[in-house]
Amino acid sequence: MSVNYLEKLEAEAIHIFREVAATSKNPVMLYSVGKDSSVMLHVARKAFYPAPLPFPLLHIDTGWKFRDMIEFRNKIAQEPGTKLLIHVNEGAQAKNITPFSHDSTTYTYVMKTQSLRQALDKYGFDVALGGGRRDEEKSRAKERIFSVRNHQHAWDPKNQRPEMWKTYNTRIGQTESIRAFPLSNWTELDVWRYIRKEDIPVVPLYFAAIRPVVNRDGVLIMVDDDRMPLENGERVEEKKIRFRSLGCYPLTAAMESAASTIEEVVLEMLSSRTSEREGRLIDVDETGSMERKKRQGYF
């Protein structure tokens, strides 16, 4: 009997979930509706089975997520033993900050970073579990599994605690909080392999289908509802597309694809050789932008 690599990654994640439950006062799991969140939820249920999840899920909604994501999320919320909290930065919504009226940096800061901070403060969560992986981005590659945030939810990359073995230092001061990342050592490929092996449901947008898109500055944006203003000369086309990662629909680039199963998606991923965040318009401004966002309190 031996434990293969995927089982080892799963066991590591379970250990982290349990450590959070055993040592924190008021934990929460960030739920973004994407494939990593699907894996997180599945592993969390395994960690505490047969007990229900000892923490609620928190979705930071922006009002601009794909409709398919919201439908999927609402279905998940119905499942037994699942408590879902939804937070929207209503102040910003009232001021009509949208991905069309503001640049992506401002929009992301207000609707995601600031909104997350509001929600964490509102409920007084001391530990927030997230699906971040070290293979996503360079600054993530250096982040600890238990990552301390100061009273303003900011990360100080130069002052990280040494993290030895699986002996995690979960102690924090009164105003500090922790971000815990059970999937730190997983790659995008591992996530897909695990989804296939465990037959975990994910949002259908990950698989190719005919969908309405416009080509904006060389990027395919799906027209998910009638709030999207068309610019001069733009026209809506029907294309077979899918998404590699999911966020707010106006800020998420689609790719033309025929891959409609996990195997096909993975095969396409391996041969395309572009990283997953390429489809996220919020990261492309410049190198180091993720680190800066995280210092401001982005997850």
Binding site: M1, H15, Y49, Q160, T167, N169, R171, R193, K197, V266
Partner: protein
């Protein structure tokens, strides 16, 4: 360059499924600054095709901006992900990278070369199965090479590879390679590695990375990747005694009581006997519960929930173990400690000690010797500074369950946490339990502190005066004692100077001696309060940590912290013993307020601003405070 063309075909869908059963190898790269660690990993990722196109585009931009390799890719930039690192051109922190081949999935910890970041290097080594130590073939073995090899051995990484890099710059000279290999073998042969291997490389040009290179026809060993793919991953040794550190007790319903954790050693099957290590009580495994199914057997590395036949009193921090082959259960042990923090480790100071699943208060009772990591010579030392390694005796407030680190890396480790800042200040690898802990038991006495106090018709207390030298601690304490005595109270005044003539005659004024001084006085005060007395302690006691330790040690008796707050200038002006004058003249070392710090109390029970107050007024207000206590 061998890397312009993809050297391995892309895995098709079938392989995607097959690779599910691959093994996992965790490795770290270390070595001195500029030996090319980041370049080596960048090369491994590039040649196994895991650098994505948009990362490459960013890399091209960054190479032009910060790079040191002219028009070629600077692979190091790919890994040094933090902005500060790119600016400084060094690797501050561990970066975790992932790649896989058809045979194996790899987790690489790229660790920093600078000595001041040794703690991050130890972080990477703590979980690794294999270490690649790089060196520059032009420079040979450097102190940092030895230092890292030693730390890798201390953390019991089983396999070590010496990557003799930059062979292109010495014309692939075989002699240079064999000399440095021989020297490395001599140095590492008694460090306890399962395998030691040495490979000539050029990380920049890819020689002997994926394939063996035609530039080194004299080398007959494997390429680096071949070696990584074939190095034995710690084979599952199910003959080791069973260990399940209890992480969580699961009680979803009154009928269900499960003990959750990851098996840290050996295996277990339904029906087999287990023992709760702390209580020694035995039971049998009734069920091995997981989300997928109930298992008949579980092995090391699996996260499970065990149900037992009997109800044992078992909580987080305890361990379910094999009845034959039990771990140590002790509150005193010897360990190797690596110190991480900029504040030095002081023997006698109280730290929080955390094992994988248990947390206790602990102190280093003796620093037996420090180890010079370059020569492994034993050096006498009284404190530990950042990056120091030492063998220490440790005492915990309650017993811990552990193995020797040699036998089990998971159940033999701990970290030390600073009580005030919560920083991880050190890490330890346990050698063995100290026997004396088992043979000294607390003697229960029939006449207890309550009985003694009631005979004296008073409520015992410890009044702890803290403040700078010359602030008026002893003067106020002296007046207070007279007041209490006049009221028929039984008292004793422990004065800093007086105690240093006897009990603490052997101690000086360094930080570590001050800590020990306070520990002894706190213990004496505790005994006296236990005898029923009102104890007055007048000590500078400059550190928050020790004042807190005293408060906790004295425990269930009243502890009144009095901060005698007299400005430094005023103390220096009064200078009742002429010490300030001496210290300012440089005749007195480690003088509080001058070249030794005084940490102001955050939240004292009484805070006296002494200027314009007489000692009598202040003493009276303490007496009133004592009288106001209930009971």
């Amino acid at each position: 360059m061998q890397s312009d063309m993809p050297s391995r075909p892309i895995a098709p869908a079938q392989r995607f499924r097959d690779q599910e059963n691959n093994s996992l190898l965790r490795l770290l790269t270390c070595g001195s600054v500029d030996d090319g660690k980041s370049t080596l990993i960048g090369r491994l990722l590039f040649d196994t095709q895991l650098i994505f196109h948009d990362h490459l585009a960013a890399l091209r931009r960054d190479s032009a901006k910060h790079g040191t390799t002219g028009d070629e890719f600077d692979f190091a930039l790919l890994l040094d992900g933090l902005e500060a690192e790119r600016e400084q051109g060094i690797t501050i922190d561990v970066a975790y990278r992932f790649f896989s081949t058809e045979k194996r999935r790899f987790i690489v910890a790229d660790t920093p070369g600078h000595e001041e970041y040794t703690r991050n290097m130890a972080t990477g080594a703590s979980t690794a199965d294999l270490a690649i130590v790089l060196l520059d073939s032009r420079k040979g073995l450097l102190p940092q090479t030895r230092r890292h090899s030693y730390i890798v051995s201390l953390l019991k990484v089983p396999h070590i590879v010496l990557a003799v890099n930059k062979m292109d710059l010495v014309s692939f000279d075989e002699k240079i390679f064999s000399e440095v290999t021989a020297e490395f073998q001599r140095f590492t042969s008694d460090l306890g590695f399962s395998s030691i291997c040495s490979i000539p490389l050029s990380a920049r040009f890819g020689d002997n990375i994926i394939h063996t290179s035609s530039n080194t026809p004299w080398y007959h060993g494997p390429s680096l990747l071949e070696h990584l793919e074939s190095a034995p991953v710690k084979s599952l040794d199910i003959t080791r005694p069973f260990r399940l550190p209890v992480q969580l007790v699961s009680r979803p319903t009154p009928e269900f009581r499960g003990y959750s954790g990851e098996v840290a050693g050996g295996s277990i099957a339904v029906g087999q006997p287990v023992v709760a290590a702390k209580s020694g009580r035995a039971s049998k495994v009734k069920e091995i519960c997981t989300y997928d199914a109930s298992l008949s057997e579980a092995v090391e590395g699996q996260a499970v929930t065990l149900l037992l036949e009997d109800e044992l009193d078992l909580s987080r921090g305890d361990m379910l173990v094999a009845p034959q082959g039990r771990p140590y259960v002790s509150d005193q042990f010897q360990a190797h400690i690596i110190w991480f923090d900029s504040d030095p480790m002081l023997p006698g100071r109280s730290y929080i000690l955390k094992t994988e699943n248990d947390t206790v208060d602990a102190t280093i009772t003796a620093l037996r010797y420090q180890i010079d990591v370059n020569t492994q010579a034993h050096v006498a030392s009284s404190i530990l500074r950042m990056n120091d390694v030492a063998v220490c005796n440790v005492a915990s407030q309650t017993p811990l369950v552990f193995d020797s680190y040699q036998d089990n890396r998971l159940t033999g480790n701990f970290i030390l946490i600073d009580r005030l800042t919560n920083r991880t200040v050190g890490a330890g690898m346990i050698n063995f339990a100290l026997r004396r802990a088992e043979n000294i038991h607390w003697q229960a006495l029939d006449v207890n502190s309550q009985a003694r106090a009631s005979l004296l018709h008073q409520r015992p207390a410890v009044i702890w005066f803290t403040g700078l030298s010359g602030s008026g601690k002893s003067t106020i304490a002296n007046v207070l004692e007279k007041l209490l005595h006049a009221r028929g109270r039984h008292t004793y005044l422990l004065d800093g100077d007086n105690v240093r003539h006897g009990l603490c005659r052997d101690l000086g004024f360094t930080d570590e001696d001050r800590v020990e001084n306070i520990r002894r006085v706190a213990e004496v005060a505790k005994l006296m309060a236990d005898a029923g007395l009102i104890v007055l302690v007048a000590f500078i006691s400059p550190f928050v940590a020790e004042r807190r330790m005293a408060r906790e040690l004295i425990g269930n008796c009243d502890f009144v912290e009095v901060f005698v707050d007299t400005p430094f200038e005023e103390c220096a002006r009064r200078d009742p013993k002429g010490l300030y004058a001496k210290a300012k003249a440089g005749l007195l070392q480690n003088f509080t307020g001058i070249d030794s710090t005084y940490e102001v109390p955050d939240n004292p029970d009484l805070h006296f601003l002494t200027v314009d107050k007489t000692p009598e007024e202040l003493a009276l207000s303490i007496e009133e405070f004592l009288e106001r206590r209930s009971g």
